[in-house]
Amino acid sequence: MTTSKERSSLQERAKQRTTGAFRCLSCFKRLSPPKGATHYTCPQCNYEWRVAWFTPEEPRIRGPVWDSYEQLTQDRMKGGK
């Protein structure tokens, strides 16, 4: 039989999993949009993301809201960031 020691590191790592959240692709802040939301704006960097749910509990970024994306990026680049 496998001992608990043999299973250790995998389970250890799995504990670090988060649910209901994704990282903002622009600033890497962890975001938890309300259940079922289709759009979400990052409070830290202002990028608005289109959101999709691959399970009822798990959101992911589907894509950018293209209209504001380019403008925000250009503003940011001018600011030298």
Binding site: M1, T2, S9, T19, L25, A52, E58, R62, T73
Partner: protein
């Protein structure tokens, strides 16, 4: 027992077939699959062998754990000297063939020579028949499998095969099995075509014995739970590999219009969630609970109603971003066509997008293209070119050659626009903002390749603590590791670690999605030690398994060096260094790979491998891996088979 499977040497010129057992020693050293293939390739070809000549070998293998209780133990490996690059030819495929080949009694096939007329092999009950395939020549990759089942009146038969692309020696023709599984890269399909080998069919009824059945069942359940509970698996169960697009294209990491842009803007139609609307379900390879293959019917146009599987992430790039198309239908149709003809989707799309840039630059004209308008985003042209390449018609004949050969045929500075490493085209990922990923493709043993060493989890911004848990196991590592994918620090270690991991995975014959590739909390060496013991009875420590993977990878390096590769080949095309990324988020915009820092990364990478500054494995390293028992010429590893 599963370890009793044999190696068969098949000579298609003489019809002679010989079988040999696989010694325990060889198992402990190379495990099986890709590693052992590499050993056989090194040993059974002469330096400088013509990839499309009778002296090259076509290798087929099932990994050490194939068929056993090891979560997605489905994988078959194929190989030979690549007609695409002239270096290591090697590709991995899922589906159901590997387990069937083991059930028929074989783990490895070494096929050499050239049949006078088209043939296929039939493996069953520890026997191999060479059968006539003249009536199958010219068929596509799905019909041929069906026809073989009909001819042998057995639904259980699984086949590897080539389509028309392999017959026509398209340099990136692939090996296929089932509806969509492809051993895609390095052009192994052209090797088969050159040997008049249409297919290898298998049907087996021999037990694959399990060393500790009860314990293996219970442990396998644990591993499967671990895999299926991961977020990345849940995502793939729904969206397949296209899910990656959400991260990469939103960020600006997708090479677009060949290499002019790094993002396909307003391409909502080919987003994974949009593709998913067309899926009627998902399919799994043998014993896999991730089942990442989408099932779809084409909805419009001349192929309306045709069933196929996929598309993979690669097809979104190959028939979307790279060629500037934003139509889901084009992606789905081209995905079907490359499957049908049997050629690598990645290379096909890359060649087309390269031709489109040449067209834009005036290097190719309407006269060269036979009137085809190669403007970016021309869906009809892209579809037409897929046909022409497979049939080697018109401009398709040039594009069916390897990138470097095609550039030589076209001339006029066209080589400058190729996006390749060692003569194999890059995936549609734009690695300019991500030094780790850039290093990976530059040094990979089979040319530009994300499946040989990509630290994909580098994109996840994981905390250093988590990175350390992953990357210092089973070999301690206390050098730098950083969460920022734009850093150069610590990345060489990650690349080497992943190279050894993927090498090991391919030796074991399990699927990469069930290991540390797209998900950080996936099984790795510790779990494999348990799986190997419970399934096969072999006692190997995590470190011994790691070293076996390393041994195989080192041998690939030795093979490439034997075939003329030098440090000069471990490089990126100039555009990575000279043209900053024009689009994407601020984190990735304006990025390029710094030449000096890149050189330092390569040096560090060699040092971690214990290779010298020219990328040649040191004598000490070869001794440590017991690859030092060289023959008189000083070039051949120990003589075990």
């Amino acid at each position: 027992m599963s370890l009793s499977r044999k190696i068969a040497f098949v000579d298609l010129t003489t019809g002679k077939i010989e079988t040999k057992p696989i010694s325990k020693e060889l198992r402990r050293k190379f495990l099986g699959g890709r590693g052992l293939d590499m050993y056989l390739l090194y040993k059974h070809t002469k330096p400088g062998v013509d990839p499309l000549g009778p002296d090259n070998v076509a290798l087929i293998s099932a990994g050490l754990l194939v068929g056993t209780l090891a979560s997605a133990s489905s994988r078959t490996h194929v190989g030979g000297k690549s007609p695409l690059t002239g270096y290591v030819g090697s590709a991995n495929v899922g589906g159901f063939f590997g387990p069937e080949m083991r059930l028929a009694g074989f783990d490895h096939l070494v096929i050499r020579g050239k049949a006078e007329k088209p043939v296929y092999l039939y493996l069953h009950d520890d026997e191999i028949e060479i059968r006539d395939a003249e009536h199958l020549w010219g068929t596509d990759t799905r019909d041929v499998q069906d026809l073989i089942r009909q001819e042998l009146a057995d639904d259980d038969i699984q086949s590897l095969c080539i389509g028309q692309a392999g017959e026509n020696l398209v340099k990136y023709a692939c090996i296929r099995t089932s509806i969509k599984n492809a051993a895609g890269r390095t052009g192994i399909g052209a090797i088969w075509g050159s040997k008049n080998l249409k297919a290898v069919a298998a049907k087996g009824m021999r037990d694959i014995g399990i060393a500790q059945p009860k314990e293996a069942l219970a442990y396998n359940k644990e591993i499967i739970n671990q895999v299926t509970s991961a977020k990345v698996s849940k995502t793939m169960q729904k969206l397949g590999t296209p899910f990656i697009w959400g991260v990469t294209n939103s960020t600006g990491l997708v090479r677009t219009r060949n290499f002019q842009l790094n993002q396909l803007v307003n391409a909502d139609d080919i987003e994974p969630e949009s593709i998913e609307e067309d899926l009627v379900g998902t399919a799994g390879c043998f014993a896999c609970q991730v089942h990442c293959r989408g099932k779809y019917f084409i909805k419009e146009g001349p192929y309306k109603g045709t069933y196929d599987e996929g598309p993979e992430y690669t097809s979104q790039g190959a028939f979307g971003a790279e060629v500037g198309c934003t139509s889901k239908n084009t992606v789905l149709v081209c995905n079907h066509l490359v499957n049908y003809y049997g050629m690598d989707n990645l290379e096909t799309g890359s060649m087309i997008s390269w031709a489109m840039e040449l067209f834009e630059k005036g290097i190719l004209t309407l006269e060269d293209t036979g009137g085809l308008d190669l403007t970016w985003g021309n869906d009809e042209t892209v579809i037409e070119l897929v046909h022409k390449i497979a049939k080697r018609e018109g401009i398709g004949d040039i594009l069916a050659d390897s990138p470097l050969e095609a550039a030589a045929r076209i001339g006029k500075d066209s080589e400058r626009y190729l996006v390749h490493v060692k003569g194999m085209s890059n995936l549609h990922s734009d690695e300019r903002p991500t030094p780790a990923l850039a290093l990976n493709i530059a040094v990979s043993s089979r040319g530009s390749d994300h499946l040989r060493g990509r630290p994909a989890i580098d994109l996840y911004h994981l905390p250093e603590k988590v990175l350390r848990q992953i990357y210092s196991n089973p070999i301690p590592y206390d050098g730098p590791l950083t969460s920022d994918y734009r850093d150069y620090e610590g990345k060489p270690w990650q690349v080497m670690w992943q190279e050894h991991l993927y090498s090991t995975v391919d030796c074991l014959g399990i699927c990469k999605y069930h290991t540390v590739f797209l998900g950080p909390n996936m099984p790795a060496y510790e779990e494999w030690a348990n799986l190997i013991r419970l399934n096969t009875g072999l006692e190997l420590t995590p470190e011994e398994i790691y070293r076996a993977g390393e041994r195989g990878y080192t041998l690939e390096r030795l093979f490439n060096i034997r075939e003329g590769m030098t440090r000069e080949d471990d490089k990126l095309v100039d555009r990575y260094h000279d043209e900053p990324t024009p689009l994407g988020l601020p984190v990735v915009r304006g990025r390029f790979i710094d030449r000096d820092k890149f050189k330092i990364m390569v040096d560090e990478y060699y040092a971690h491998h214990e290779w010298d500054e020219n990328g040649v494995p040191t004598r000490e390293k070869l001794e440590a891996l017991s690859l030092n028992t060289l023959d008189k010429s000083g070039s051949e590893p120990s003589n075990l088979v």
